[in-house]
């Protein structure tokens, strides 16, 4: 790989670029294209208008105006789009970036300063991009005698685990989720269990004392807060009878569960703060005790990746709180669809004599609708996907609620000091577990008193 | 007492002149000490709130123990080491204060002694030695460590005679001696 900074010469620079290009082209030709062709044998290709969409066909249709909408819709409903863009990585990374900006500005306002101010002219909105550029141009220093494969892998795995967590989060009605699992909640617990392991692995591989203590602290944090985290959600599962996150959201169409189980919500919120390693529970990174905890040896972009992963995780936890306790995307629909007759038949407009001379039919207001009746069909449960209005409305509600929860996650950083590890263990084992048991019995009481459940009042 | 001729008082102290205006309160506790250690201690001055007695270095522990037991002085505020190359001596001055007795809280009793000085110091292994007062006034611990590295006075009985402020690789003279010259000055 070429090195730009010392002894920069344009010829070497260009040679480096061309070398890289050459190798990229060679590798793509020799390995990439065969791999794609082999994959095409096994991947089911979408059928549009009775034709199998091959790559050649898609390229042709790009220049055909009438076929572009179906093409885009096909892309929108493909798995790749879900993983890379909308409910998956891109959406979560966007919210994570917003979270970092909001955190900086909010803390600054709380602490009587201005925060990022110059970069990007408007309130330092490009500061994050600047920080990213700075991090990516820093040298990555690997400590001597470190376990190099593990040490390199830890930040990548951290981002990957956070992304796997994001994959389980439904953000809009109609299956807008990367992985719609029957046991979504259990999968969430499984993914959460990865983070301390990654922390310990990276801490162990760095061969340094401060990361090591930080990793052990992360382990203790998991030990004390995983059980309250799991038990605090059991109440909701008892009331809904399902582990599927989308169904948990749909069960809250009339009221969110936080009304009936505020104790569970509080316990979950505190356990969430601890799992996110945020102040007051940022013991694995306590900078005045153990320099930066398990992040001490990370430099440059590796540190940036860990930060990205932790903010993705922050978004995922806030979204989980919204889904389970605050009703997810449920809320009043913005711009409700027009009446069915208006879409299907149109409104006859009479002249002064009363004779219908004109029929006004709206164009398909739902932007992505195939036919005008789509919303009606979706209401009747005959369509697998949702209409544009419900999608937009659901996403807006979801984002609003998530941002609210993120705000409350960020707030303690300006209010509380850090707690100590024995206090943390004491809180987890003596208080939160007891409270989550109380929460379970509240749920059982609600079921057996006939308030909620089959044949219940609500 | 055998070393009486080796420790001449550096200057002719004028105790008579001071005693004319000496404050009675300060004189009372100084008299306590001088009565007990008649010829081992020598009063240098008695001023308002400030008193100083010079003690021979063999007697420093006894005098300090006597002060600790019989007067309200309970801690050492400061320990000053002074180099006197003309006298071939190094002076060590303990400033004692009292927290417990409100009447004595203004007073600072300077307990001074002198140890022989060597031209080519080898800190810890030469004759520049003094008994540590750490067992009596605990608070002199770090001060004595500082004097050990800065002036080369080894404190016998001090449990922790290590470097405190100077770097580990310091190999020069003890820097507060007068023959260590400031560079550029």
């Amino acid at each position: 790989m070429s090195v730009i900074a010392p002894k920069f010469r344009l010829g070497y620079f260009l040679k480096g670029i061309f070398d890289n290009l050459f190798w990229i082209i060679t590798l793509v030709t020799l390995a990439g294209i065969p791999a794609i062709q082999i994959a095409l044998f096994f991947l089911p290709l979408p059928i549009i208008d009775g034709e199998i969409l091959t790559a050649y066909l898609a390229f042709t249709w790009l220049f055909n105006p009438t076929m572009q909408i179906p093409l885009i819709k096909t892309l929108l409903y493909s798995d790749l789009f879900r993983i890379a863009a909308f409910p998956g990585f891109g959406f979560a990374a966007l919210i994570a970036a917003g979270t970092i900006f909001v955190e900086r500005k909010m803390l600054a306002k709380l602490q009587l300063r201005v925060g990022p101010f110059y970069c990007g002219k408007i309130e330092g909105i490009l500061q994050l991009a600047g920080d990213g550029l700075k991090l990516i141009s820093k040298e990555i220093i690997i400590p001597a005698k470190a376990d190099k494969p593990l040490f390199w892998a830890a930040p990548v795995l951290f981002v990957g685990a956070a992304a796997a967590f994001v994959a389980l989060i439904p953000v809009a009605p109609g299956g807008w989720v990367v992985a719609d699992l029957d046991v979504g909640l259990l999968a969430v617990f499984a993914v959460i269990g990865f983070f301390p392991i990654i922390t310990i692995l990276s801490a162990w591989s760095a061969n340094s004392k401060f990361p090591f203590i930080g990793g052990i602290r992360a382990l203790h944090q998991m030990v004390s807060f995983e059980i309250p985290l799991i038990l605090s959600l059991l109440g909701v599962v008892i009331l809904t009878g399902t582990l599927n996150l989308s169904e948990i959201v749909e069960s809250q169409s009339s009221f969110p569960w936080i009304i009936f189980m505020p104790i569970g919500a509080i316990v979950f919120f505190i356990a969430m703060l601890a799992e996110l390693e945020r102040i007051p529970f940022d013991l694995p990174e306590a900078e005045s005790e153990i320099v930066a905890g398990w992040l001490t040896e990370f430099s440059g972009m590796m540190y940036g990746l860990v930060q990205l992963g932790s903010y993705l995780k922050l978004y995922a936890f806030a979204a989980l709180f919204v889904i389970i306790f605050l009703g997810g995307w449920t809320g009043p629909v913005f711009w409700p669809p027009l009446e069915t007759e208006l879409i299907t038949e149109g409104i006859p407009i009479p002249n002064y004599a009363g004779d219908p001379i004109l029929t006004v039919a709206t164009p398909g207001l739902p932007l992505f609708d195939k036919d005008p009746n789509e919303w009606v069909l979706q209401q009747q449960g005959e369509l697998m996907y949702t209409s544009g209005q419900l999608l937009i409305s659901g996403v807006i509600w979801f984002v609003l609620k998530t941002v609210g929860v993120i705000f409350f996650i960020l707030l303690p950083r300006g209010v509380f000091p850090r707690i100590r590890i024995d206090m943390l263990l004491h809180i987890g084992w003596y208080k939160l577990i007891g409270l989550s048991f109380v929460n379970i019995f509240i749920a059982l009481g609600l079921v057996y008193a006939g308030v909620i459940g089959p044949g219940g009042i609500l | 007492m055998s070393t009486a001729e080796t420790t001449p008082p550096p200057k002719a102290t004028p105790p008579e002149k001071v005693e004319a205006s000496a404050p009675s309160f300060e004189k009372s506790f100084i008299d306590q000490i001088t009565n007990h250690f008649s010829d081992d201690v020598e009063v240098e001055y008695i001023k308002e709130n400030r008193t100083r007695v010079n003690v021979k270095k063999e007697k420093i522990v006894d005098v300090a123990k006597f002060i600790k037991d019989n007067t309200p002085f309970d801690h050492a505020e400061s320990v000053t080491g002074v180099d006197f190359p003309e006298d071939k001596e190094i002076g060590v001055i303990y400033h004692l204060g009292s927290y417990t007795d409100p009447a004595y809280s203004k007073q600072v009793l300077a307990l001074a002694t002198r140890v022989p000085r060597e031209e080519n110091p080898n800190p810890g292994n030469d004759s520049t030695k003094l008994s540590s007062l750490r067992e009596i006034f605990y608070s002199v611990e770090f001060h004595e460590r500082e004097i050990f590295e800065m002036l080369g006075v080894y404190f016998e009985g001090h449990p922790d005679n290590r470097r405190l402020l100077l770097p580990e690789d310091w190999a020069d003279l003890p820097p507060l001696r007068k023959d260590f010259t400031n560079k550029g000055r």
Partner: protein
């Protein structure tokens, strides 16, 4: 509506793989454009962080935190907490009498936890 196939499970893996694959270029680009003197590597620079001092002792050592009783309890009760989900998710389909054994189970679990906490506190293990 509910995803039932292996495909929905594999989506989690796909997302995991996508994030990993998307992050590796960041590291590679960082390696490409960052200044690094490969010919004369600085051995001091790669020392483990020890607050500016030369590190003493190994980083990976025998190190014991005092709170191991909590860890032992975690091993037991974490599994039990997951067991409860099997019951909780099907509670509405079960007859009401099926709840009594579970409540007994909860009681035993809670009592055991209280006993363990009490014991370890009395023994002053941490």
């Amino acid at each position: 509506m509910v995803g039932e196939s292996v495909a929905s499970y594999s989506n989690v893996l796909l997302m995991f793989g996508f994030a990993c694959a998307a992050m590796i270029p960041a590291l590679i680009i960082s390696r490409m454009i960052s200044p690094e003197n490969k010919k004369q590597p600085n051995p001091v620079k790669t020392l483990p962080m020890e607050c500016g001092q030369v590190p003493s002792g190994a980083g990976r050592t025998h190190f014991m935190m005092q709170y191991y009783a909590y860890v032992l309890m975690f091993v037991i009760f974490d599994v039990m907490a997951i067991f409860l989900y099997a019951w909780g998710s099907s509670l509405l389909d079960l007859p009401r009498t099926a709840t009594l054994p579970i409540i007994a189970f909860l009681g035993i679990m809670f009592a055991a936890m209280a006993f363990a906490l009490n014991l370890s506190k009395r023994k002053d293990i941490w």
